[in-house]
């Protein structure tokens, strides 16, 4: 007869603590999540200031103000966001196999990583929203300069600025990590299928809109959203992307 022990003997760490520790593991190298995005923010800001100075010294007085207002169409304030796609991929491709090596379950890893994304997005959004408000105050004081107050950020209140900054990050993290999770599970074939599926869905939506004559109503419907409503609604596709990522990851074997 074989007797099987059903309870490991040593001390256990509660699951919620392990999720927190996955967060700490993700944050061990703070340069990835915080350092580089804020370095990019700083560099982009310096470039915008230099551009503003060049406009001020090179454009004659009659057109100078309009030229400075032209910076309101700059995407420079969103420059760190492209890097966040790299962060989303690395959080899975680099940390997932490493975390499994630390005897962490896939569920603990996924929850810890999701919480990390939310905390980082909230932190960054708060920082950028504060800078947006400072820049708004500078403009109100009569000095025209648009780096953070570009695009829609100059038109909405602080809450909407924060929400749009937060949601954009979450969407980028969700999509990038979902792609990385699909790669972790199915490698190149998974990528091929996923990209093909994305192309087919986009084509299908365009075909539907054109063939049913609903393109204009759809555009009107989208334009009817407030900035706040639009970015709040973006959390739905972000949630779907996270769900796709988890669906791929929960049975992903460790390779290599």
């Amino acid at each position: 007869m074989t007797a099987i022990s059903i309870a490991p003997a040593a001390t256990r760490i509660p699951s919620r603590h392990r999720i927190t520790k996955v967060m700490r593991l993700q944050m061990v190298n703070r340069l990835t999540y915080l350092g580089i995005p804020w370095i990019i923010t700083g560099v982009a800001l310096v470039i915008s200031i230099v551009v503003a100075v060049l406009i001020s010294v090179s454009v004659p007085e009659p057109g100078r103000q309009a030229a400075l207002e032209g910076m309101a169409y700059s995407w420079a304030g969103l420059s760190p966001f492209w890097y966040l796609a790299v962060v989303g991929v690395q959080a899975v491709s680099a940390i997932f196999p490493f975390a499994l090596g630390f005897s962490i379950t896939r569920r603990e890893y996924a929850l810890g990583t999701l919480v990390t994304f939310v905390v980082i997005a909230a932190f960054n959004a708060t920082g950028w929203a504060i800078l947006t408000e400072i820049e708004r105050a500078i403009n109100a004081a009569g000095l025209t300069f648009h780096h953070f107050t570009a695009l829609w950020f100059s038109e909405v209140g602080a809450g909407s600025v924060w929400l749009s900054l937060f949601t954009l990050q979450i969407v980028i993290f969700a999509v990038a990590s979902a792609f990385a999770a699909v790669y972790a599970r199915w490698r190149a074939m998974g990528m091929l299928v996923l990209w093909t599926a994305v192309a087919l869905v986009v084509l299908g939506l365009i075909a539907f809109a054109l063939l049913t004559g609903s393109a204009v109503p759809i555009i009107d419907w989208l334009m009817g959203f407030t900035i706040t409503g639009f970015f709040a609604a973006l959390l739905i596709p972000a949630t779907l992307a996270f769900a796709l990522g988890w669906a791929a990851l929960h049975r992903a074997p460790l390779r290599g």
């Binding site: 074989t2 490991p8 760490i13 520790k21 190298n29």
Partner: protein
């Protein structure tokens, strides 16, 4: 009747990758608090088996149970396990100190003082990016985590890669000394069989995905003999015995014979001018895994 409580129980475990069978119907149990060697050639299925034991991969058939439970997504079980793999890829920017800072978050029995002592013993630079450490230093980092983690089940997958002879012996000596103080179940896959043969209490040998040998190290030691002499005499002596390996050079032959030789056997061998020598662990494993005919099932190479 087995009254021991197995810490690891593997039943009919198979793993197939497309058309490649990495593991084929592997079954064994491991008692707690032993050092077990997992031996076999490259591609024998050792890493696949260890990944299945730690829930990093999924069986195609059969089951692997640790502490009586499926380890897959089982936090209670995984917390009691530490798997140090030579293929661990450290995230970009991670320094050795980052790894040693993170390890105690996940291993409840982590001994920080012991880890510090090992860092000194292995002369591991803490503030250099792990990816820029030498292969040996990366292995040392894994060894430190595996030893200081003191997990009830610790699995080392070829932990010595790149370690110099001094560092390897530091690892063996430290493992043995710490194991004596803090007994736990250690599964060690290695190619340097003779180096670890004195550490091992149990041996599992995999070959082409099948379990070839599941035996205590004590019963394996001296369980085969090399008989050398003139080919005709050697063959006469070997007739009716299980021959694991045969080498010839001119008119001379050497055969590895399974089973312990009796006094009468030795007298007969001496009379025929045959030399008898013990077979090392490593030679035995080499002989077992290079036989021309595949083993049908678990080998029964050793009998008293």
């Amino acid at each position: 009747m087995n009254t021991q409580t197995p810490v690891i129980q593997v039943d009919g475990l198979s793993r197939t990758y497309r058309d490649v069978a990495a593991l084929k119907d592997v079954s064994f149990t491991l008692e707690p608090n032993i050092i077990c060697g997992l031996l076999g050639r490259n591609g024998a299925g050792k890493t696949t088996l260890m990944r299945m034991l730690t829930g990093q991969d999924f069986p195609s058939a059969g089951s692997a149970r640790v502490f009586g439970q499926d380890p897959v997504e089982n936090s209670a079980v995984l917390q009691q396990m530490c798997f140090i793999s030579e293929s661990t890829r450290y995230p970009e920017g991670f320094q050795a100190r980052h790894v040693l800072t993170g390890a105690p978050w996940f291993y409840a029995n982590w001994d920080a003082a012991f880890a510090d002592e090992l860092v000194g013993k292995f002369r591991l630079p803490l503030k250099r990016e792990v990816r820029k450490l030498s292969r040996g230093q990366q292995s040392a980092l894994g060894v430190i985590v595996g030893l200081a983690g003191r997990a009830p089940v610790t699995i080392f997958d070829e932990p010595y890669l790149g370690l110099d002879a001094v560092a390897r012996h530091t690892f063996y000596d430290t493992l043995l000394a710490d194991y004596a103080e803090q007994p736990r179940t250690i599964l060690l896959s290695t190619h340097l069989i003779d180096e670890v043969s004195n550490l091992l209490e149990h041996v599992l040998v995999l070959d082409e995905g099948r379990l070839l040998l599941d035996q205590s190290a004590d019963s394996l030691r001296g369980s085969a003999s090399a008989v050398a002499g003139r080919a005709g005499d050697v063959d006469s002596f070997a007739e009716g015995r299980q021959v694991l390996h045969r080498d010839t050079l001119g008119g001379l032959a050497t055969v590895t014979i399974s089973g312990r030789l009796t006094s009468a056997d030795r007298v007969a061998a001496a009379a025929a001018n045959l030399e008898i020598a013990p077979v090392s662990f490593q030679q035995l494993i080499v002989d077992l895994t290079t036989q021309s005919t595949p083993q049908p099932s678990l080998a029964s190479v050793v009998y008293e």
